[in-house]
């Protein structure tokens, strides 16, 4: 469960302070599939960074599975990212020099999992996303849709509490986009909590709930009857 209380983020650049997030509060229950939407500059990327524990808030608190992570230090945040959050990025962010299998194994390396178990878990997930025959390929040898599947497998490999997708279909054509959204639906139906940050209304409409952000504030929190 995600609980955000009066979360603020201020960027200080010289004399000018930019308030990217203004005391935002909301709760996301386990098993939800939520879209966070807003135009560029609305603060949704900042919110995504805070939810992903990639950055710390200026004030407010953020409870992830009942633990306040807003005051955690760098290494504690790294551990939270490793254990509880699976990222899916617009640019896939795979390690270009490593094989697909190794890419999916990487979070497990940092979790200190032994090689044999790593390989089993990564292989089974790559199987699940339909890439069982591409284990030894490098990311640049497969299509964009397949790369995003690798990223999703990587996001799932540590059984995270939250899958955080940042414009996951931004670099994909509409057919592949539909496939990836279907995959998210499938994962959601299996109980995974999924948060998709997007500016695409079409993608947002396929979730269960849309949180609208504008100028750093939550302007609308609507339930979608998909």
């Amino acid at each position: 469960m995600i609980e955000v209380r009066n979360l603020s983020k201020v960027y200080q650049s010289g004399e000018i302070a930019v308030e990217a997030l203004k005391k935002i509060s909301f709760t996301i229950e386990d098993g939800e599939m939520v879209a966070i939407v807003g135009p560029s500059g609305s603060g949704k990327s900042t919110l995504m960074n805070l939810l992903g524990c990639l950055d710390t808030p200026t004030s407010g608190s953020y409870f992830l599975d009942s633990t306040d992570v807003s005051k955690a230090n760098d290494d504690e945040l790294a551990e939270v990212r490793n254990n509880k959050i699976g990222f899916v990025f617009q640019k896939f962010n795979l390690l270009a020099r490593d094989s697909i299998l190794h890419n999916v194994e990487t979070p497990l390396i940092y979790a200190g999992i032994k090689k044999k178990e790593r390989k089993e878990r990564a292989t089974s997930l790559l199987n699940k996303v339909g890439l069982a025959d591409r284990l030894d390929h490098n990311p640049n040898e497969v299509s964009g849709g397949q790369r995003q599947r690798v990223a999703i497998a990587r996001a799932l490999v540590n059984n995270p509490s939250l899958i955080l997708a940042d414009e996951p279909t931004g670099n994909l054509d509409s057919k592949t986009e539909a496939e990836i959204i279907d995959l998210f639906h499938e994962l959601n139906s299996q109980g995974h909590t999924i948060v998709i940050v997007t500016h695409s209304e079409k993608v947002a409409q396929q979730t269960n709930r849309i949180i609208h952000i504008l100028d750093g504030e939550l302007v609308k929190d609507e339930v979608v009857l998909g």
Partner: protein
């Protein structure tokens, strides 16, 4: 975990082989140079040392001190050799240095040479024997015969491959010509304390004093101690006698073979120390090269660092990864450098003709130093990578 990080580091080095090799170059050259130079220094020193100890470490050289050119100086005389033998129990034998420089003349060849007046014992003292024919013997000294023994170089230059035994040769000294019959040619010998023996020639001491120089003045003596252990005692005894006899410590100078050896050793040692130091500087320069490459690498791979951090890599993981990379660069560079150093030392010792000796201590020091350089110059780039904020690193273009 360290093993995993190690594999990650090696994989990244392997993906850019040319750059890896180029950044190792400084370390390779530095380590190689240190090892080669120390080896060359040790090898050539060993050769000099063995040349000198061939002559025997129980030899003591006595010559006139700096004041002998003054009018008040007392000349050394032949009798002093006997006196030293009598008064110094640690001394076995004393030979006078009777030397004259002149021209050896064979038909149209004129050759500048040093002629030494001596006796048979000269061979034993210098461990220096004729290759063909014989040396000056007792009969030749007793009869003051006109015979001569040539050093190997003189024989080669004058006679080439011909057999010089029995030939007559002229020696021009003080505008007088003397004719000698060649009775022997000496073996080849390295440089000793009395200079290059190979271009000296030997005649009986009686012939030298009675016919050539017409005087019993000598330039110095070579004393042989009973054994190398007695050398220091012999030096003291000779010193004591000479200062009494000549009445002045500045009239003579005594150096044992060991002292000469010490001087030469300290010269070659400081030479190789200096050259080794210069080589060590290239090691440090190599380290800076590694730091440069690692800094570029950190900047280039900012987004990789961001991805790794997003996936849960801690500061320590990133730090270790980059530190291992720079350690690998310097370590592999060090290993290659050791190989190249060995090879260079081997080739140069072959060309120079001295023994091929690699000092294992210098290998260890050079290699350890290269690893230390890897850590020292790798730590800053690695810290820089570890400190990157995940957000900034991920969004880096």
């Amino acid at each position: 975990m360290i093993l995993e990080t190690f594999i990650i580091a090696v994989r990244s080095l392997n993906s850019n082989k040319l750059r890896t090799l180029l950044s190792m170059l400084g370390i390779i050259i530095g380590v190689g140079a240190v090892i080669a130079i120390v080896s060359i220094g040790t090898g050539s020193q060993q050769q000099i040392t063995s040349n000198i100890s061939d002559l025997g470490s129980n030899l003591i050289n006595i010559d006139q001190g700096w004041r002998h050119r003054n009018s008040s100086s007392t000349e050394f005389t032949l009798e002093m050799a006997e006196y030293i033998e009598l008064t110094s129990p640690a001394v076995k034998k004393v030979l006078a240095n009777l030397e004259a420089s002149g021209l050896l003349i064979k038909e149209e060849i004129n050759l500048r040479a040093t002629i030494v007046g001596t006796e048979g014992y000269y061979q034993e003292i210098n461990k220096y024997y004729p290759l063909i024919g014989k040396f000056i013997d007792k009969a030749a000294v007793d009869n003051a015969s006109d015979v001569i023994v040539l050093g190997s170089e003189l024989a080669t230059e004058l006679y080439g491959k011909q057999n010089p035994l029995g030939q007559k040769i002229k020696f021009n000294y003080n505008d007088n010509n003397f004719v000698f019959t060649i009775i022997g040619v000496m073996e080849e010998k390295g440089r000793g304390i009395t200079g290059d023996l190979n271009d000296q020639a030997y005649i009986p001491m009686s012939t030298y004093m009675n016919k050539l120089a017409n005087s019993n003045q000598v330039s110095g003596f070579i004393a042989q101690a009973n054994s190398s252990k007695d050398a220091n005692e012999a030096v003291e005894q000779i010193e004591y006698f000479l200062s009494k006899y000549l009445g002045d410590d500045d009239q003579f100078r005594i150096r044992s073979q060991d002292q000469i050896l010490d001087t030469i050793s300290s010269v070659t040692e400081s030479m190789s120390l200096m050259l080794g130091g210069i080589a060590a500087i290239s090691l440090v320069v190599g380290g800076i090269g590694i730091m440069n490459i690692m800094l570029v690498s950190v900047t280039e791979r900012t987004s990789e660092i961001g991805i790794r951090k997003a996936l849960g890599a801690k500061k320590r993981d990133i730090l270790t990864q980059f530190l291992i990379e720079s350690l690998c660069l310097s370590g592999i560079g060090g290993v290659i450098g050791v190989g190249i150093g060995y090879l260079a030392a081997y080739l140069i010792s072959n060309i120079g003709g001295w023994p091929f000796v690699v000092n294992s201590l210098s290998v260890m020091i050079a290699f350890t130093f290269s690893l230390l350089i890897g850590i020292f110059f790798g730590i800053y780039p690695a810290m820089k990578a570890a400190k990157l904020a995940p957000v900034d690193a991920l969004n880096y273009e």
